[in-house]
Symmetry: D3
């Protein structure tokens, strides 16, 4: 089985970390293909950047040569899952949604700890649109941007743990989801300190991808996620043009 794991931002180091995490969770027979968005933001902390990444990610996957069995969208709370489901036939796995699915399977309620307060609404919307908000106890923010979490790992750990503690003690979360790929190393620490399981989004998406592909299932193409009809498109794919004109911003 081959899974494309797409980092929606342009930072190669994060792609590597995401790829490593995906491989860590993948079954022996699964091949992980990590990809990096060719345009957009170095770290996504706004709807503007998130929408841009949605297009970058579709651009990337639609230009990918070679077979694959599933796509993992490795941005937590980003826009775009519905579009990707249309342009590929294989199933598509969003890490925020997959985290919530797994969390609901192992606990009564879950909370998400994300980066900035401004990202809370986007995650809430993604969970709502996916029909997964009923067991969400809260979405909390550490108050640090995606890049700052990479840069200041200790401060980040402290702040994330603080919010995780509030999620468990105030919001009655019984499972935690880490709402940013950069938070990956923290699960053990949180489980040790708070006694609750922590779901890693990449792991959840890879695991669910293997399960769904293993069952022989694909996205329903009967209506909402059918292939777009042939249409007159201008400027698509974007990369060809972006790259032809020089890629640096």
């Amino acid at each position: 089985m081959r899974i494309l794991v797409v980092n929606p931002n342009t930072t190669e180091e994060m792609t590597e970390a995401i790829g490593a995490a995906a491989r860590h969770y993948a079954s022996p027979g699964t091949e992980i293909i990590p990809l990096t968005a060719r345009f957009g933001a170095a770290g996504i902390d706004s709807n503007f950047e998130s929408l841009l990444s949605a297009v970058a990610v579709m651009d990337l996957v639609s230009g990918y040569q070679g077979p694959f069995d599933a796509v993992v969208l490795a941005g937590f709370g980003e826009h775009g899952r519905e579009g990707m489901q249309e342009i590929v036939d294989v199933p598509v796995f969003d890490i925020a949604e997959c985290s919530a699915h797994v969390a609901q399977l192992i606990g009564r309620s879950y909370s998400v700890v994300t980066t900035l307060h401004r990202s809370i609404a986007a995650i809430e919307d993604r969970l709502t649109v996916a029909g997964l908000s009923a067991r969400c106890a809260s979405v909390r923010a550490a108050g640090l941007s995606t890049l700052d979490i990479e840069r200041y790992p200790e401060r980040a750990a402290e702040r994330i743990l603080e919010q995780a503690r509030l999620a468990v003690h105030q919001d009655r979360a019984e499972v935690l989801c880490l709402g940013c790929a950069g938070m990956t190393g923290l699960d053990e620490k949180i489980t040790t300190e708070l006694g609750v399981p922590v779901v890693d989004g990449i792991g959840a998406a890879v695991g669910l991808a293997e399960a769904v592909v293993g069952m022989g299932l694909r996205t329903s193409k009967v209506c909402t996620y059918a292939r777009p009809e042939p249409n007159q498109l201008t400027g698509w794919p974007i990369t060809a043009r972006v790259e032809r004109s020089g890629r640096a911003s």
Copy 2:
């Protein structure tokens, strides 16, 4: 007052129709600036095209020279309002949401009649995310694409009227919203036949824009829709590159 009215697809004829509708509804002192997306689809009938349009529209507005007081997003059920709210300081008006606001002001419940069945989910999600689904009786589809509605106006009218009738008689809608700019001329016909008011999305958005701007209000920048922090962006704006490399698809 100057309002940018942005057609998210690339069809200039539709921009003209949208501009004309906007001017029809605008107050005397209001200047309407219709704009056409520079890349993307000729008519938007999928999430893929809609996400692409969200970026095209942000690209267009962020490159617009000169002052403006409001932005109207003239795509019914498209992605992207949240991103636009971040990158401009003036308030932003999505025609699907504005239709629902106006409909709720004049009736107990409303239905939307849109183009293809595959677009129902996107409109439902937009209304849900905007907190406007509680009084939505139904979203129904005429079974014709955006471009076909332009091409076959008679068949379109018949099919739309048929769904409007079901909305009123089966779903108990008391107000109708037309979920596609191309449907603009039909309100009178529907009101005559079914006795219910019909809300034109462009008119609703222009009217609410005038009201909100007139009150001296702007989008709250305190959290979710704050300006994105300065970030390392690759390939943005897109148009420069797209255009430099030749615009034809």
Copy 3:
């Protein structure tokens, strides 16, 4: 355009303040006709008084001589909008609902700050019934009656600001609505201190009235808000009798 702006309580000073606010927000061509309830309470702080005001307000408007294009109900959270929608053909605008509509247009979520704790439920119900509660972060009370807010403006300002602060910081409101006509002057102060836009209910209702009337729309008369059928009525209108018998309580 002529808008009746109806103060549901019997205090003329409040009617004057409401009228002034309405004129402040109205467009040049709009004429504001402020009216005062002829019976009922001097300030409305209970369901009993609110229901009484609903009848007083219908009595007042149904006896009004001369044309008008819209009715603004200037009581925040009062009963009665549905009845008024039935007995007039022009559209009707409740200030609590209009505040919420405008707030949703300019922010992710809003809170209301009202007078007494006992009024919270009535406002929540009004928003729920109007389909506007999904984006309501909270309804909070300053703990002062409508008349006390008039009487002790400084203490009122302090208490309202305190609740506004909690709404923004604890409930994550991004827009505030002031749930009492007497709070009108406070918007600037709150915006300055908390950085969030504040919606004035009278302004919102006047603005939306102008927009809806400007679009040529009226309340749907197809079912729920149709004119009541001719019926045998006793004691209606009330004023004639009340006044004939001497108005003092």
Copy 4:
């Protein structure tokens, strides 16, 4: 135990029927005091008439001389329960809400069959505001006014039965509530034909009143339904004035 059973319309014959039904369901020790609204409509089929009745009913009860232990509001879906709860200390029972309570106790889901289509929204709102809509399968209308149901009992029976059948077979209702006092005699017929229990609103309200009073409970006065503070009231009570000036409309 003494229960005031208040007919919100002015038709004495209906009061008599309501009183008879109440006595039929009351326990031996319970005294039923039927009362008729002194002003308002002969039959309530609109929000306008319903709001008027809410005031008439409060006027009536607040002027009632002598002790009582509970108030039953015998209008199905009328406004006003919240106001009555404030002005009396004894508990208050709305027949629409009580029907739903009893229906939920004996079945998975219930439907209401009411008079006119325009009354559906008011009943839905009453159930929602009372927190009783989750198990409501549907509110359906027979298409006859309150007075027509009195006048044409056979046609009414037929139409009501037809809607009851649809409620059971299409909406999966397992219990039916008759949404109009005039429908009282039909329960047996419906139960015989459809096999589902039918809840009579008057019976439900009297039964719940006896239960709650029997437990020694009263309305919570801690916040929402506290007695209104002393206030400057004009024109209250209304009856004194209405009657002084001659009661005929």
Copy 5:
């Protein structure tokens, strides 16, 4: 009227207390038959024990000789009401649901104070499944097991009062429900200290049973709660076997 009041745990002392409470609330003509589960836990504080009790209670009632008119399930938040409704024809009253019904009749919102935190979810689910969660302000836990509440009445009273206070002041509950039979004596104390009515679950269930039976109503057998079809059952009833083999654990 004869009501079976079934204690789902095996502690006879609790059955006696429950029976005494039931008799205290019952009308003169009502006979209370208290029954004790013949197997299961001495006090129920988990889903495991609760499911076991559901079967024990069905076993007990299906083996009961002699007529009865209603069954009261005296476990707060336990599983099993739906099963009991199937195997008897008389109506069935769960004390958690009945508490909520009565609470909604006398106040705007209610909270439940239960034993352990782990029981909160079960009570929330019971209220949700019964369609009674919309007016539930909170379910709070005293942090003591069912048996500890019996054992340490003073500490229990203190802890329960503390949670009741938070329910009223933080969650805005206007009525309280005590979520454990062992809490029965505390209502007066709470009402005195906090000014809110307190609903006793046993009293609520007995009162509603008398009301529903008095109306001549029974559980709807049309679909969900119809008698199970004859089926091949192994090991049922359980008691016969359990007892034959010696009852001690």
Copy 6:
């Protein structure tokens, strides 16, 4: 990895079919241990039987000798998952919930087709309690009991296909879940005829079990699903007694 797959009814043939399905979907390294309830019903079509099976299943698993990594509860819509989560430390997978999880991953909305109409409510409740009802388009019934589906496979296929068609065309389901183990063979037929993916509950549960166990996750024991505290239990485990006294019903 070893997964206990528990048939909640007593029919060994169904256990075999379930075991075969589980093995079909399991990964090479996974060992499937099918188990049959030792008491209860031969086929579960009521809450009574379902609650009995919940206890039978807990009894069975708590008496199982040897290690295991996950438990699959192979009854669609049965009670008991919460109890099993408490008494084992490994994660527990209910086939109704797992079907819904997988369905949501591959489509906008899903419907369930189950056996009898009386089972619809139980499935709805299970999905609601698991937080999975938001994307459920409908639960439909074929009108045949669990055993009849085994007995009359052709008639069953026809009836199930009929409901599946209505789910897709009327309720807009994009994915179907088969709500009964006996329906297992039908997925291909439905996919061929209706073009929608069909989720097999056993396959979904096995796949998700492998994913969750593979991630190293277990049920959160921090609150709701913690091990029951040591308690005085009578008659537990049941089997010992049931078997000692002879197993035949």
